[in-house]
Each structure stands twice: as structure tokens, then as C-alpha cells.
């Protein structure tokens, strides 16, 4: 029996259609502008195909946070394990997620956007796999299924699927409303993944194992490292694995600098990087695409600024990413904030995805 904890953020996505670029703290304004709650409908699209699955046991929250969705989807047997009072909030999302963890669910299936993903990650971290039914205004994190139907397919097999590290991004909503897109890597969650349904079993071995691919990437990067050269390692689990293979501890969400097998700066900000680069010498930047949209530069790791990149040279960039990650992102994004610099990367970018193996990926800006 697969135990799924369902959390619906009933106000998710309301801000988008009325031009609020997000719903956090703006529910009343959204309602005044004529927004209509729609998250329940999105959740129902994902739940309905599972309604008669005898192998799934749903646990959920009261009212609009899940109970209504299950009932409207035709699910007969479920238990309400968390009840909220008045209007639901992020705190309710967190409390429900913690409750589901206590009850040892196989998956927390949530319906919402980036804000909901952050709340759940805050509550349970990587202790419970999570999966998002997309319903928010912003869904830059990688924890969302492509659509509700796909979410249903994954949920159906939760507990048996391999898990993948996936970034949760933190977007500053106030800045976003002001037309500035500022994100940073908020955390790394664990998400079940369903690979190509039509490919023959074992068709492409190395590509199916995220961990094996990271090993290959780390082994290759270690092989090409040159004494005396500075290596600026961006955020994420792939760069973290590179450092770990060198016997170094790396900040998962920050930018570290290594040289000659030693870490010379941890969680460095832009000024620190510029100061270190000021000492001269060769430098290379190693980053991994972040989030569902595959941000390579600019978003998610602003420490590696246009100025830092210019000091190192566009040719100094080494992008790394596992084949699984790359399969989920048809093209990658570069947005350094300097359009002239962005164009230096050309139409395609090469991404190291294994031991002496790379992929050509289309770049969009």
C-alpha cells in the first residue's frame, strides 16, 4: 500500500491571472481584483486517475487543503490528519507536512507553487520525497511534475521509483513584482522520477542513474584540474559531489573556491570572489543548471556575477549536469545581467554529463 499525504494550497496561482506575479500576502487583493481559486481543480486533475486505485492510501488536511479535492475526485476512503482554522496559511502547510512525516507517508503530493514547495521543504527537508502538482504563479523549482496527469503517473508508483535531487528556488516576490528576477537556491529536495515510458528497460544504463552520473562527472573534473588554478564551484549537489571526491566539504547552497586540492573560501559572496580573483592567475567556474528552467548563470547563484565571469573569461565556464537533469530541461538559460556577456556563450553550451562525456544544449536568454 502506498501512503500519499496530500496538501493543497487553496490560494495558489490566484495572483497570476490578476497581474500580481505571486499570491504570498496578496490573497485579499487578488480576490478584490476578481481572482478565482483554481488550485483545487488542478489537484483534482491529478487525483481523479488515482481515485479507484486500491494500492493507494490518502492522508490529507481538512477542507480546501485536500479533503474537498479528494471527495470531488471520487476518492472514498481517506483520513484527514490535519485540521486548520479560519484561512489556511504557510504555517498550516508546514504543520501538515510534519504530521505526514510522523505518519511515515511514502510521498507528500502538494498542489501549489514555489512558495508551497519552500514551506514543505522547511518542514520535512529531504526526509520525505515530495512532488508538486503545478498550480502556482511561479514554478521555478524543479519539484513540479510537467502537468497534473504526469503527477498522477508518478504518484501511482511512489515508493518504487528512484529519487532525484532537485532544487527549490527562493524568489523574492517583492522584487519580482518590481520587475526584478532575483532567485537563490533555497534547498535540495528529493523527488521521485519516472523516466521515458517507451524506452526499453536498461536501454541507456549510465543515463538512468543520477548517482552514477555524478560519480563520472566528479571523476572527470578531478582529472582535468590543473595545479595553481582557482576553481569556483557553484551551488548544488553535482558540484558538491565534485568537492567531496576531492576530499573537501562544500557548502551545498553556496559558492566555494578551491585551489590545489584545498578549499580557500566557503560560501563566498561576489566581493569575496572578486578579491580572490584580484590575486591573479587562472580561474575556472564550475556550475550546474538550477531549477526547472535550467538556470546556468545569473539566477540561483548571483555571487557568480557578470563581473566575476568577466574576470575569469566566458571560456572559463564549465557546466556540469547529470543526463537525468538535462533530459528534464530542453534548453538552458543564461542571464548574467550583461547582455553583451550573455551573447559570448553562443547558441549552444556544452554540459559535462559523465566521465569524458558532454551534451550540447540549446541556450536561451
Amino acid at each position: 500500500m502506498t501512503r500519499i499525504g496530500l496538501i493543497v494550497n487553496p490560494v495558489a496561482g490566484m495572483g497570476g491571472p490578476v497581474g500580481l506575479k505571486g499570491t504570498d500576502g496578496k490573497v485579499q487583493e487578488a480576490l478584490q481584483r476578481g481572482a478565482v481559486p483554481n488550485a483545487g481543480n488542478r489537484a483534482r486533475e491529478a487525483i481523479s486517475p488515482l481515485a479507484r486505485d486500491p494500492g493507494i492510501c490518502f492522508l490529507t488536511c481538512s477542507g480546501a487543503m485536500g479533503e474537498e479535492t479528494l471527495r470531488n475526485s471520487g476518492v472514498r476512503d481517506f483520513s484527514v490528519e490535519y485540521r486548520y482554522a479560519d484561512e489556511s496559511s504557510g504555517r498550516d502547510t508546514q504543520a501538515a507536512a510534519r504530521k505526514f512525516r510522523e505518519l511515515a507517508v511514502d510521498l507528500i503530493l502538494f498542489c501549489g507553487g514555489d512558495g508551497t514547495a519552500r514551506d514543505i521543504f522547511d518542514a520535512v527537508g529531504i526526509t520525505v520525497p515530495i512532488l508538486g502538482i503545478p498550480a502556482g504563479v511561479k514554478m521555478y523549482s524543479g519539484v513540479f511534475a510537467v502537468d497534473p496527469g504526469r503527477a498522477a503517473e508518478v504518484a501511482h508508483r511512489a515508493g518504487t521509483l528512484p529519487l532525484q535531487d532537485t532544487e527549490i528556488l527562493d524568489i523574492d516576490e517583492e522584487a519580482y513584482r518590481a520587475g526584478k528576477f532575483e532567485t537563490k537556491l533555497y534547498g535540495i529536495a528529493r523527488v521521485p522520477v519516472l523516466r521515458n515510458l517507451v524506452q526499453l528497460p536498461k536501454a541507456i544504463h549510465a543515463e538512468q542513474d543520477d548517482d552514477l552520473a555524478k560519480d563520472g562527472i566528479a571523476r572527470f573534473i578531478a582529472e582535468i584540474m590543473v595545479p595553481g588554478t582557482l576553481y569556483i564551484l557553484g551551488a548544488g549537489t553535482t558540484t558538491e559531489r565534485i568537492a567531496r571526491d576531492l576530499g573537501l566539504e562544500k557548502t551545498l547552497l553556496g559558492v566555494d573556491v578551491i585551489r590545489d586540492g584545498e578549499c580557500i573560501a566557503r560560501d563566498a559572496d561576489e566581493q569575496t570572489l572578486l578579491r580572490i580573483l584580484g590575486d591573479g592567475g587562472e580561474a575556472r567556474i564550475i556550475v550546474s543548471p538550477l531549477g526547472a528552467q535550467g538556470f546556468v548563470l545569473g539566477r540561483g547563484s548571483q555571487q557568480i556575477s557578470a563581473e566575476v565571469l568577466r574576470r575569469c573569461g566566458a571560456g572559463s565556464l564549465i557546466v556540469v549536469g547529470t543526463p537525468q537533469k538535462l533530459a528534464d530541461t530542453p534548453h538552458l538559460h543564461v542571464d548574467t545581467g550583461d547582455s553583451g556577456l550573455d551573447t559570448e556563450f553562443g547558441e549552444y553550451i556544452s554540459v559535462v554529463c559523465g566521465y569524458r562525456i558532454a551534451q550540447r544544449k540549446l541556450l536561451s536568454r
Binding site: A203, H205, A206, E223, I224, S350
Partner: protein, 452 residues
């Protein structure tokens, strides 16, 4: 305008063309893996019959094809030369595109051109079993066919990625009576060593070669057969180019550009060498000859021209060739037959001396070309052959720009009827464009064995 240009059975060539006779300088010798001294025939005798060793080292220009071999080859040769009229019209090119269609052999590819003589010479030498490796399965099935003709046993070590992707190839081999194993296996020291390091390895031609060579070297009744790379394999394949040259004469043509895909180099050698001979001897100095390799495994365009082993374990002689390093395991692209770290020493030498050219193509671009070909000419080609299709189309499109009426000849090495999962992945936009990170990799190529 003829669509098919056909030769009669009596026009099957009676001699193979040995380009070693026309090389500007002699081929650098293969070196013994332990002593690094030039290999002598006795070194190869434990795994090859003497007649094939003689062919390997011969500099005689024309080598007779035994009548018994011609008789078996007549099951599927001469192969037709097609004029790709519909493709030309679709591309709106003034170029004339011809292709040699090798997909009509029993196993569906050009590989039977060498499997038949190799099985024949082994049978004559009293050998009872042949061990070999196969990438995409084309060579393994071709050798299985040939060993069944000559009543020999056959053990095929098939690269595991292909074994899983192409189960029908495995079944073909079994129908012809061969034993087909996913490589690496636990039967050989070489296979066990790889499995201990990486139990989930997709395998590679380099690993499979190590296993087959070890099998042959450790069993007295067993010889080894290679489906590409070696000089005698390239020699047998020249039957393709020799026929094509005669067929083009029948329509009063000589190619401006000759194209073939390159893995180990044998089909490319087969279509190219008779024309490369014309170039080397000054008869047609301007003919361009282009080898097309995958961007994922670009030995000719991104490798080093150095001595390297032909296999992963370092059991084979060292050969001077373009190589990505014998320990390179290429990504599991669908053109499995092109996943080889090295290249034929003769092809490599001719590329190094600029008699031949080389280009590399991305997987999605190659399948796009194959789809265009299928929709115009009808044939769904193997992913390997699609590399040649891609470059033929590129060259024809250049002619559209320049207005030149060039004659383009390419080798269409086989059908893709067992490659539908690859086409399906392409149709769904799920093919990755693998490439070789050449700039980053130079440091690791320093690990090639150093030969004084």
C-alpha cells in the same frame, strides 16, 4: 535517368584493392603490446589464420578473391547503386546524389563483405570456432551468417547497451547458430575486471574486443575475427568502392565527393579506398573523401594521432591511429557501431596526410537527415548510415548555394529496421546531443601509452 544501376553476378570484382600499395609512405607497423617491437606474423598466429595475416601485412596492390568466396558473396552482390532522385528534388539541389545500398545482404549491412572471407579462411585453416565482438549487432549477425555457411561455431560478445537496445540482432545470431553474450561478461578476465569496477557499465567495443581476443587466445580451436579497423577487413570491404566505381562508369560519372560513416573505419575504407587510390596515384587528385563520425565519439576530428591499444584491456597490438584513448567509454548513442575509441590505422594515416577528410555530427541532426531520407527515398537507414546521409545532404545543400553540379557518392551501409526505439526517441524529442568535451579532455589523453 536510371534509379538503380546494376552489375551482373559475373561482374563481382575478382580482386580486392589493397591501398597499402599506393600509400605515400609505408604504414607504421603495429607494435607488440608487451615488447613494443613491431608485430611479426607469429605474434598474430594464435588468433588469426595465416592467410588473413598475410593480407594484413601485404603491400600487393590487387589480392585475388577466392572463387568459393565470390560464390557466397553472389547471394547478395553486386549491390545496387541508386540515384537519389527524390532526395535531390526535395533538397532542390543541382548536385547528383548516388548511394551504394549495402542493406540487402542477409544480415542487412555491409559487414558480410568481410565476414564471409574471414570465415572461409578460418575454415580452411582448420579452426572450429570464432570469437568476436559486436557493437550495434551488425558485425555479430554478419559473422553468425558466415560461420553458419561454413559450419563453424561462433561466440559473439555484444556490447551490453546494444544487447539491451537491439534484442532482435541477438535473436538473428541465435537463428544462425551463434552464441551471443552481453559484454562485459564474467567469462573472461577482462570482463570480470570491468564488472568489478562498474557493474552497470553499458560496455563498449573496446571492452568486448578484449573479451573476444582473450577467448580466442585461451582456446586452441578458436580464432578471433574483427569486423572493422584491421587492414584485411578494410581490404575485403573495397569490393563496395570497386563496384561503385564501375557502376558510375556505366552512367558516365566519377564522384566529386565520396562519403562514408566512420566507427572503426571499414565501411568508409570500403567505399573510399578505390577512390583514394585514384587520388594518391594522380588519376583523380581532386576527389574529396569525407568520413563522418558521431560528435559523441569523434576520434578523427578530436582525437590524437598516436599509438594506442585497440581494446580496453590492452591485449591487442598497439596501432598508430586517431584515438580518444583506449579507456574511453563513449556514451550510449544509438549509432552503436560508431562507438569506438580508435580508427583503422590506414584511414587514420590518410586523414593525417589529408588524403581523406573527417567531420563529426550530432545525433539529432543525423536522425533528422535519416527522416528526410526515409520520406524521399523510402529506406529507413541504420543510425550509423544516417551519418553519411547527413553529410551527403549537407554537401548537396552547399551545391544549392553555389549552383555547382557536383556528383556525390555515399555508402548506405544498412537498414535501420531494428532501430525503431531510436527513431521513436527522436520522434519524441528525447535524443540527447552527446559530444566529446575535447578542450577539457586533452589532459586525460596524456595517459596514452608512450612509444619511443
Amino acid at each position: 535517368m536510371q534509379t538503380k544501376i546494376l552489375l551482373g553476378e559475373d561482374q563481382i570484382p575478382r580482386e580486392w584493392y589493397n591501398i597499402q600499395a599506393d600509400l605515400r609512405t609505408p604504414l607504421e607497423p603495429p607494435l607488440h603490446p608487451a615488447t613494443h617491437k613491431p608485430v611479426v606474423p607469429e605474434d598474430l598466429a594464435p588468433i588469426f589464420p595465416m592467410e588473413l595475416i598475410r593480407q594484413e601485412m601485404s603491400t600487393q596492390r590487387n589480392i585475388p578473391i577466392p572463387e568459393e568466396v565470390r560464390e557466397v558473396l553472389s547471394l547478395f552482390r553486386p549491390s545496387p547503386l541508386y540515384r537519389a532522385k527524390r532526395l535531390e528534388a526535395f533538397l532542390k539541389t543541382p548536385a547528383k546524389i548516388y548511394y551504394k545500398w549495402e542493406g540487402q545482404s542477409p544480415s542487412g549491412s555491409h559487414k558480410t563483405n568481410t565476414s564471409v572471407p574471414q570465415a572461409y579462411y578460418n575454415k580452411k585453416a582448420g579452426i572450429e570456432r570464432i570469437a568476436t565482438e559486436t557493437g550495434a549487432g551488425q558485425w555479430g549477425s554478419a559473422l553468425s551468417f558466415a560461420t553458419s555457411i561454413y559450419d563453424l561455431d561462433c561466440t559473439v560478445y555484444m556490447v551490453r547497451a546494444s544487447y539491451d537496445q537491439k534484442p532482435y540482432r541477438k535473436i538473428m545470431m541465435q537463428v544462425w547458430g551463434a552464441e551471443c553474450l552481453p559484454s562485459p561478461t564474467d567469462r573472461t578476465n577482462a570482463g570480470r575486471a570491468v564488472l568489478a569496477r562498474d557493474p552497470d557499465t553499458p560496455g563498449s567495443l573496446g571492452i568486448a574486443i578484449s573479451e573476444a581476443v582473450e577467448d580466442a587466445a585461451t582456446h586452441a580451436n578458436t580464432n578471433y575475427a574483427l569486423g572493422s579497423v584491421l587492414n584485411h577487413v578494410c581490404l575485403h570491404q573495397t569490393i563496395i568502392g570497386l563496384e561503385a566505381r564501375e557502376q558510375l562508369v556505366m552512367v558516365d560519372e566519377y564522384p566529386d565527393i565520396v562519403i562514408g560513416c566512420v566507427g572503426g573505419g571499414s565501411n568508409f575504407a570500403g567505399i573510399a579506398f578505390p577512390f583514394a587510390g585514384d587520388k594518391l596515384t594522380g588519376k583523380h587528385p581532386d576527389v574529396r573523401i569525407i568520413g563522418v563520425e558521431p560528435a559523441a565519439c569523434p576520434s578523427l576530428t578530436k582525437g590524437l594521432y598516436e599509438y594506442d591499444f585497440g581494446d580496453l584491456a590492452g591485449l591487442t597490438p598497439l596501432m598508430r591511429m586517431y584515438t580518444l584513448g583506449h579507456d574511453f567509454v563513449p556514451p550510449a548513442i544509438h549509432a552503436g557501431g560508431l562507438r569506438y575509441h580508435g580508427d583503422s590505422p590506414i584511414v587514420s594515416k590518410l586523414v593525417h596526410e589529408k588524403t581523406l577528410e573527417a567531420v563529426a555530427c550530432y545525433q539529432n541532426d543525423v536522425f533528422e537527415a535519416a527522416r528526410t531520407f526515409a520520406r524521399t527515398e523510402g529506406i529507413i537507414v541504420a543510425p550509423e548510415a544516417a551519418h553519411a546521409v547527413k553529410t551527403a545532404i549537407d554537401e548537396a545543400l552547399k551545391c544549392r548555394t553555389t549552383g555547382e553540379e557536383k556528383t556525390i557518392l555515399f555508402n548506405n551501409t544498412g537498414h535501420g529496421n531494428f532501430d525503431m526505439s531510436a527513431y521513436d526517441a527522436f520522434n519524441q524529442g528525447k535524443l540527447a546531443d552527446y559530444e566529446y568535451p575535447a578542450d577539457l579532455i586533452r589532459a586525460s589523453l596524456a595517459k596514452l601509452p608512450k612509444i619511443a
